[in-house]
Each structure stands twice: as structure tokens, then as C-alpha cells.
């Protein structure tokens, strides 16, 4: 069953087109990573899914209905980011208690345990927390609510390394215990990729890729070798990134048409095959200038 279905979705902020003909669907009980550069439209998309803002054109269905103004969507989903607002008069302990009345699947025991583990003070106030602590607290609400659709928008903003690791593990453990549909947007692709089942990559409001994470590693490969051999080898293939190292060595990332097809051939041609880290691949796919930042400095 698809929890989210979206077809030709468009969003305009004044004259700027933020989402452009976006069509995709997300199945129930999968963890999907939403990846994109700054300003790609990630947050806008997630807010439309959560029903916070209206779409301009196209269809969006969450639990088979339009999310904007839908009570059904709002009771079954939670949108976690670092701007979540809670009543400023309530203490943290009271917020946890009240949250339990909002979310039907709320797990008070889990909330309390995480709360103590991360050393929160029940008598503290949300607006007096540090940046990292705010994210941590919001994450606790997000996990303990156990909403059928849980959306994390840049959940790790400000969290230190240890807390981020704890968060990923907590997320996975609770997901195994209580499967639900989860969308995470993040800049730290290499940190979250192992957790994901699917990846959705958007760029300039358009969908670039939507595929299972396992296929991503096979989607493109990098080859390294002396320039002449490499140039001959990549003939007719889709080049995503090209870099010359030293005098006569070339590093090229090419798209692989079918899994494993190029690896064998490259071995025989005598060029080295190296893996492309997913985070690098996303950067190559979303950079318009093929030489990267170096192009900016070239003509001066």
C-alpha cells in the first residue's frame, strides 16, 4: 500500500517555482531518505506532505486524502524539525505528558527512558535548550509518538557525534519493534544510508532518482587509470564526473547501465574500479558545472 502518492506536484512561492512536476509514491513501512542540496525543495515537500502548507498544482495524497486541513493526516503523522513549537509555559516533563494525549500510539515508557538517557531535566523549558538539545528533545517526541507516518526534517541539526549515532540506532531499533513509514531528510548521507530502504533525490524541485539503496551502489562506478585507456573505456557512456589527477591519470564516474556490467570489463581493460561513496555521487548529480568549484576560479 502506498502511504504517499504525489503526481505532478508543483509549488510556487511568489514567482519562484520550488517544486516542479514532482511525481513519486512511498510505500507503507519503509524508511526513505530524502536527499537534496540546500534549497532543493526538501522542506517544502515534507511540509506539503505533513499538511502544513498548500500545494499550488498537482495531486498529493497521504493516507489517500489531501493532507492540507486533514485531521486524519494530522493525527497519523508527525513532522519533526528544529522549529517545532511547544507551549512555552509547559515544562519538558509536562510536554511529554501532553504529547501523549495528542498521539494515539504514544509510548510513554520509551519517551521517559530516552528523556532520562539524554539527561533532560523534567523541570526545564523547551525554549531554554541549546540547539543540539532542542533537536534531541524533538527527536524523542518524534520517536515516541510512533506515528504511522513519521517525518524527520534534518533531525540531527546541532547534535554531537555521539547523540547522532544514538539517534540512528534508536530509530532503527524502534522501527524494528514498531514498523512505520519514515522519511528522513539529511545532509549527512553517509551517516544515514545504511538505515534506508529507499532513496529519493531531488534537485531544483525535480526528482532525479528514486530507487532502493542497494541499487544505488550499482548505479554508477568510478574508474581510475591512465588517461588514454580510461578515455577509450568511457566512450559512449554517460559521464557524471571527470577529474585528472597528476600527469596521466584520470578519475571518471560513469553510469552503469546494468548491475555489474562494467566492473568485469574494466578489470580486463586494466583500469582500476573504485567505489563511489553515495554522498559524492549525489554531489556529482546535483552540480551543474562539471568541474565543480574549480570552474569558478578558472578564468580569473
Amino acid at each position: 500500500m502506498n502511504v504517499i502518492e504525489c503526481k505532478d506536484l508543483e509549488k510556487l512561492y511568489f514567482r519562484k517555482r520550488v517544486l516542479n512536476n514532482l511525481s513519486f509514491s512511498i510505500e507503507e513501512n519503509k524508511i526513505t531518505g530524502l536527499i537534496g542540496r540546500n534549497g532543493a525543495g526538501k522542506t517544502t515537500l515534507l511540509k506539503i506532505i505533513a499538511g502544513y502548507i498548500k500545494e499550488t498544482n498537482g495531486d498529493i495524497n497521504v493516507f489517500s486524502e489531501r493532507p492540507f486541513n486533514s485531521l486524519n493526516v494530522s493525527v497519523n503523522s508527525i513532522f519533526v524539525d528544529d522549529h517545532m513549537s511547544f507551549p512555552p509555559a509547559l515544562q519538558l516533563g509536562e510536554i511529554l505528558e501532553e504529547a501523549g494525549r495528542f498521539y494515539p500510539n504514544w509510548n510513554a515508557k520509551l519517551a521517559k527512558r530516552l528523556f532520562d538517557y539524554f539527561r533532560f531535566d523534567e523541570k526545564g523549558y523547551h525554549n531554554r535548550l541549546s540547539k543540539g538539545k532542542t533537536s534531541t528533545f524533538n527527536m524523542i517526541i518524534g520517536l515516541a509518538s510512533r506515528c504511522p507516518l513519521t517525518i524527520f526534517d534534518e533531525p540531527t541539526t546541532g547534535m554531537d557525534e555521539a547523540v547522532r549515532k544514538d539517534f540512528y540506532r534508536a530509530l532503527l531499533k524502534d522501527y524494528i519493534a514498531y514498523p512505520r513509514t519514515i522519511i528522513i531528510s539529511s545532509h549527512h548521507v553517509n551517516e544515514i544510508e545504511d538505515l534506508l530502504e529507499d532513496v529519493l533525490l531531488i534537485h531544483d524541485g525535480k526528482k532525479l532518482l528514486h530507487l532502493p539503496i542497494g541499487e544505488l551502489k550499482e548505479w554508477a562506478i568510478a574508474i581510475k587509470g591512465d588517461s588514454e585507456t580510461v578515455v577509450k573505456f568511457i566512450e559512449g557512456k554517460e559521464v557524471l564526473y571527470k577529474n585528472e589527477v597528476g600527469v596521466n591519470t584520470m578519475y571518471v564516474v560513469v553510469k552503469q547501465d546494468s548491475p555489474g556490467s562494467l566492473k568485469e570489463k574494466a578489470h580486463l581493460a586494466g583500469v582500476e574500479v573504485v567505489s563511489v561513496p553515495s554522498s559524492d555521487l549525489f554531489v556529482y548529480l546535483t552540480t551543474d558545472a562539471k568541474g565543480g568549484i574549480d570552474d569558478v576560479f578558472k578564468n580569473n
Binding site: 524494528i176 551502489k217 586494466g270
Partner: protein
């Protein structure tokens, strides 16, 4: 509070141990690495024929990976007849598992290694005789004549 600190530390160690086996930077997808790890466990006799192996959820927790990824690794082994499914009970090691793995590693992994060896020798402008002598020498040292 002490309990939590202890718990945290043991978790960190556990993850470190698991990380040593999975290599995120490898060209191999994670599910292939999971499958290969289980194969090694079978070769090391940690799992015998007809014994139950880890479930996708146990693997997911051990390595902090998505359960679907773990399942893909297990299914890879089912396709190769190394594991078999018992409905509602889990995955078990087949009688032929060890033999299949050994054969596969010989015919695929070792063959590829030899191929690389030959290519590297060619790049170093070694002739066939030199290469064969070198292999013989290494074999005498490691295994005995």
C-alpha cells in the same frame, strides 16, 4: 543513571566490532557483505547444516542497517541454495551449504584473484616462468612442498 552509562559504553563497543566487518566504502553493496559474512560463519563452523541462522531483524540490529537490506543478503543465499526457508520459523543452513560456498569461492573469488595476479605480473613485465616460480615459492613457504 549508572546503568545507562554502562549500557551506552557496551553499545559503542558492540558497534565498533560490527563496523570492523562491514565496509561502507567498499564497491560491494552492504547486502552482499552481509551474505559473505554469513558464508564465512558457515565455513568457520559457527553454523552447522540444518541450524538456524540470524533473522533479518537480528542482523539489522547487529549492524544498524535497514532490515530490508539484511533480508536481501539472506535471500541471496537462499537463491544460491546455501540457506533454505522454513515458513514461520526462519532461515536454515542447507546440507550442501559448505560445499557450495567452497566451490563458489574457488571458481569466482580465487579465479578473480589469479586474474589480477596475472595482470599485475604483466604490468611488471614478468614472464610466465617467473610468475609460476613465485607462486611455487609462496606455496612452499605457506603450505609446504
Amino acid at each position: 543513571m549508572n546503568y545507562y552509562i554502562l549500557h551506552y559504553n557496551s553499545n559503542a563497543l558492540y558497534q565498533k566490532g560490527a563496523r570492523a566487518i562491514l565496509n561502507t566504502n567498499s564497491t560491494k553493496p552492504i547486502y552482499v557483505q552481509i551474505a559473505e559474512w554469513i558464508e564465512s560463519e558457515i565455513l568457520n563452523n559457527h553454523f552447522q547444516a540444518n541450524q538456524k541462522v540470524y533473522s533479518q531483524y537480528q542482523l539489522a540490529e547487529m549492524y544498524t542497517i535497514n532490515p530490508a537490506t539484511a533480508a536481501k543478503g539472506l535471500n541471496l543465499l537462499v537463491d544460491e541454495n546455501i540457506l533454505f526457508k522454513k515458513r514461520g520459523l526462519g532461515m536454515f543452513v542447507t546440507d550442501e551449504a559448505k560445499e557450495i560456498i567452497l566451490n563458489k569461492r574457488k571458481n569466482q573469488t580465487l579465479k578473480r584473484l589469479v586474474q589480477e595476479l596475472v595482470l599485475e605480473a604483466k604490468r611488471l613485465q614478468m614472464n610466465k616462468q617467473e610468475l609460476i616460480e613465485m607462486i611455487q615459492e609462496a606455496n612452499d613457504e605457506e603450505v609446504g612442498p
